[in-house]
Symmetry: C2
Subunit: 216 residues, 2 copies
């Protein structure tokens, strides 16, 4: 499958690299076609990896990952373009963490909205699925870094899109039984709000290789 | 021990009843000394249970639980009185959920503050410990309602207060190894933010008898 990955940070690199490893053709997108980090990534991965603007990456992908920083996501997707995102599965991995006031950071919109919902509202013809934003970038693509059973959440308004994403997540190493469907995209405020607890756990446990398992 | 429980809702009743069961003398506090729910509770429990104003309950307790609704907590504690709370362990169980706009509710202060921190700032000589706010009131006092291992969080700036609270939690049925100390009271924004995920889980799993286990 051809996949566009928007974002050249640790999350974008981790996901783009994993996608190539499991057999996809990936174009990493950034604001500037000559982005050094993206070029370096494409060069280091080689076959299956390319890079370009947000618009080029979105147009290339049959499916698109938003791995940009949360506060920049809407702008990046604007540059990707509504037309390039139309009818495509758009996997939103973003969290909006504002560290400008030190630790713990604040979450821009967690209280009465979420980035996932904002993105779905702005691009109503994209099929937004929120997932992976509750774990560290290394754990995203290698769940075995955390011992035992632990869970990943998906939410979104399009059932078919969630099924496609669940299949991709399985190829990353997540077992199907550990992928919890929280329902519509509105549940994104749950997973984005949880990041505040994740940060407290990071701080007290001293490792980012952590996750939660839901029990009942 | 003599314990004051502020609040006559489901959380206050569950905790006050459990505290009497495990051998404490409990005074339930409410805005009005003639509160019917508090009188009914005290009557139904009998020996060890009494009721009165927020001030009477706080003065009675060697330790005080805040089980009032989050948006009313600061007012209730104001009525309890700074003097009655001085040097006492104040267990804050509150969450500020605003359902006025429908589901999912918003959290008043989760973004850049927490109720736990607000309470500690307003009552600097109380020894505030935030805990139990991440589970349903029935699970709070009967963790066996959720199968298998699952975790409870405590945070607060006073180590001795956290140790006292951990001992109380053990008497509720929580095993010591499953009580995670998140550090200072600032971590309350983590557990209060998590409630957004808890609500999404409630909605998708259809049961309030749920919790999480932290794995790494």
């Amino acid at each position: 499958m051809r996949i566009g990955v928007l974002g050249t940070g640790m999350v974008g690199k981790a996901i783009a690299t994993k996608l190539v490893e499991v057999g996809h053709e990936v174009r990493m997108g950034s604001r500037d076609a000559a982005n050094e980090k993206a070029a370096e990534w494409a060069g280091s991965v080689g076959e299956g990896a390319s890079q370009g603007t947000f618009a080029a990456a979105a147009a290339f992908g049959e499916l698109v990952f938003n791995c940009t920083a949360g506060e920049a996501s809407l702008d990046a997707l604007e540059l990707a373009g509504e037309e390039a995102l139309r009818d495509k599965v758009l996997v939103d991995v973003s969290n909006s963490l504002d560290f400008s006031q030190g630790m713990p950071p604040s979450l821009g919109v967690c209280n009465t909205d979420s980035l996932g919902e904002q993105i779905q509202r702005r691009f109503p013809e994209a099929r937004v699925v929120k997932t992976l934003n509750t774990v560290n970038n290394e754990v995203m693509v290698d769940p075995g870094l955390v011992a035992g059973d632990h869970d990943l959440f998906v939410c979104g308004d399009d059932e078919g899109a969630k099924a496609e994403v669940a299949a991709l997540l399985e190829s990353f190493g997540w077992s199907r039984e550990r992928i919890i469907d929280l329902g519509g995209i509105r549940a994104a405020r749950g997973t984005e709000g949880y990041v505040l607890l994740w940060l407290a756990l990071l701080n007290s446990l001293g490792t980012a290789h952590l996750n939660i398992r839901v029990v009942r």
